[in-house]
């Protein structure tokens, strides 16, 4: 408790040292100051891309070490067979698939929120969408690894890829797993393109302000000769908008298809109509909480207090709270629909979740997913960074548990009582792989932050510009009124 206060005090101190003048901060919860000079924006953001400090390398090393654990596990599993991960019949899937869904879910807020907010002209997205989209891309790349790791014959993975082949062999397009692969591929490539297209003007800035080294070449190539001409901007706007339009239904489809992996099956506890909605809500939920986590980290590490402002955080937090309540509601819907379905097998799975061997995890999920977010309803916590940091991590823990609670209980307690198995716990290989995925993600994300601007400079400029215009307009209007 005391420690909390101390930390809190330290944070308050940081806030006090913030470059935003106190009166402006207090005055009107402005999500951005109009007075920020554009040059300063460039300077601040580019500064975040400078040669990293020692701590960066230390963390990167640990992330790499964690990833290496996973590589080791995979080599071991590849050599000896899937059995080493302690799965069995009926526990065919285990943590790989649950963690796969977790990462897929994580990917959802970035691109989806960015696109929705873009369409809705909610310009508070501007300072945060870049890293959120990076989050999407990298969590998809992490999720993709689990699909591979999960396969019993990794070396034949291409059998489930549709490619024209001499023997006329095609994969089975009826399989939700194939839809999954297809949707993830589409989503990943679209997200990467969306991220990239949105970054071109910033890449041009990087090009213009870096004068040597491989980076200069990299940005020169990547910025495609962007000069910010009216023609480029005009087409850019349309393109960005169009892709945003594509991405919204796509993102929804991706997680509904992941839900279809379960809902299209015939198993009790999976064959639930509300699953797609439940999955999408869960995905947005975990994505939002991941955004909060990264928001806080980036804000702190890169001193982005001026861009990633508390009002923006507050908005994100409120959005998260809303989604948390939707998710909670959908949980209840799942229960209710099963309860009134007279399907004893599905009921048994639910009962099993609540009072069976998985109960601690299930209740953990309820606690993290439905109880913890209640703190977000309080205004004082909505901008309390230490609290938010802990809460966002708990939310994600809850969401990871949710995915596990979707996958495992049905396997352990399916239709066929003879094969019920309540004792099969994931082995160290599975845990190692889950652990490694966080290392892998951290590696990718940290690399991204140092190579690419994690705050969109041009969009922040736009935001500042629009605020200025707005201010001017309202001043004129005021004067006119006088």
């Amino acid at each position: 408790m005391e420690k909390d206060t101390n930390e809190s005090a330290a944070w308050t101190k940081r806030e006090n040292e913030s470059p935003i003048p106190k009166h402006e901060r207090r005055a009107s919860e402005k999500d951005i100051r109009e007075s920020i000079a554009w040059a300063k924006i460039n300077q601040d953001v580019l500064k975040s891309m400078e040669t990293p400090r020692k701590l960066y390398w230390v963390i990167l090393f640990f992330a790499f070490a964690a990833f290496s654990v996973g590589v080791g596990c995979e080599v071991y599993q590849y050599q000896n067979g899937m059995g080493v991960s302690n799965k069995n019949n009926p526990h065919a899937w285990g943590l790989y698939i649950s963690t796969f869904i977790f990462w897929i879910g994580m990917s959802h807020s970035g691109t989806l929120l960015s696109a929705i907010l873009h369409l809705m002209h909610a310009d508070w997205r501007k300072p945060i969408f870049r890293f959120a989209e990076a989050l999407t891309t990298f969590s998809l790349m992490t999720a993709g690894l689990f699909v591979m790791v999960h396969l019993g014959r990794l070396w034949q993975f291409y059998y489930s890829v549709p490619y024209p082949d001499e023997r006329g062999l095609w994969p089975n397009f009826q399989s939700p797993l194939l839809w999954d692969a297809m949707a993830i591929f589409t989503y990943l490539s679209s997200s990467i393109l969306f991220l990239y297209i949105g970054m071109i003007p910033d890449l041009a800035i990087c090009r213009d302000h870096l004068h040597e080294g491989w980076r200069k070449n990299l940005y020169t190539w990547l910025s495609l000769g962007w000069e910010g001409t009216d023609r480029q901007w005009r087409n850019f706007r349309v393109t960005y908008l169009t892709i945003a339009c594509f991405l919204i239904p796509l993102a929804v489809s991706v997680h509904s298809i992941v839900a279809a992996d379960f809902a299209m099956s015939q198993q009790p506890g999976w064959h639930v109509t509300s699953f797609p909605a439940y999955f999408v809500a869960g995905a947005l939920y975990s994505g939002c909480s991941a955004i909060i986590t990264l928001f806080i980290i980036l804000r702190y590490v890169f001193k982005f207090e001026e861009y990633m402002t508390l009002p923006i955080l507050k908005k994100t937090v409120r959005l998260t709270f809303a989604i948390a309540m939707i998710w909670t509601y959908l949980n209840a819907v799942e229960f209710a629909s099963v309860w009134y379905s007279h399907d004893q097998a599905s009921k048994d799975v639910l009962i099993q979740k609540v009072i069976g061997p998985f109960a601690p995890f299930w209740w953990g999920m309820i606690f993290c997913g439905s109880v913890v977010p209640l703190t977000l309803a309080f205004k004082r916590f909505q901008t309390n960074i230490p609290v938010l940091f802990v809460v966002s991590l708990l939310l994600n823990l809850g969401m990871w548990l949710e995915r596990w609670m979707i996958v495992a209980p049905t396997f352990s307690h399916g239709y066929y009582p003879w094969t019920w198995d309540h004792d099969q716990w994931p082995g160290f290989v599975q845990w190692g792989m889950v652990f490694a995925s966080f290392g892998w993600f951290t590696m990718l994300f940290m690399g991204f932050c140092k190579v690419f601007p994690s705050v969109s400079m041009y969009e922040v400029k736009e935001m500042v510009y629009h605020r200025k215009l707005h201010l001017k307009k309202s001043e004129t209007a005021e004067q006119g009124a006088h």
Binding site: W38, F173, T186, A204, G228, W233, N235, F246, L247, Y458
Partner: protein, 175 residues
């Protein structure tokens, strides 16, 4: 008569806008208004009122792309089902609609996104070589107006720019 480029940098958009208005109104011989390019660190869509509605056709690429993607998807999938394994699976029809529609949708989006990007590159003329006059300030906080005009028109254009608080004028070295 040889043409030259000239880049004027402004501190803010209003100045640049005013300068462009004047240029348009001035009707300078040897300078076509279409040869004027605005370079800005952010998008100023207000500029359209000055420059006029210049076309942006990316959305047609999107439409075409998603149609082609969707059709390709559906026929690839249904065709492969009909040809390779005209073989039953799980009692479902050999060409089952729900899964094929799901995949058609994905292919539709995939085609749409890819072709949109292609369209963007074509419409925006990217990747492009750098234009003859460029100033890194344009990607920072200044507005640039690049004009291409006959040598003879240059003084007049410069004059217009100078009227509007231009910060700096860069001229192409004559060939």
């Amino acid at each position: 008569m040889s043409q030259r480029h000239l880049l004027a940098l402004f501190n803010n958009f209003e100045d640049a806008e005013a300068a462009i208005y004047e240029l348009r109104a001035a009707d300078i011989k040897g300078f076509k208004f279409d040869d004027l390019t605005l370079k800005s660190p952010i998008e100023h869509h207000e500029v359209e009122s000055v420059l006029g509605q210049r076309s942006a056709n990316v959305q047609w690429f999107s439409l075409g792309g998603s149609l082609v993607g969707g059709l390709l998807g559906f026929f690839l999938i249904s065709g492969s089902q009909a040809n390779f394994y005209a073989q039953m699976k799980g009692g479902k029809p050999i060409v089952p609609f729900p899964p094929n529609f799901v995949l058609t949708f994905e292919m539709c989006v995939l085609g749409g996104v890819f072709i949109t990007i292609l369209g963007f590159l074509i419409c925006a003329g990217l990747p492009a070589k750098r234009s003859p006059l460029y100033n890194a300030k344009v990607s920072e906080d200044q507005i640039g107006v690049l004009v291409k005009a006959d040598e003879s028109a240059m003084p007049k254009i410069k004059g217009v720019f100078l009227n509007h608080d231009v910060l700096e004028i860069q001229e192409e070295v004559s060939k």
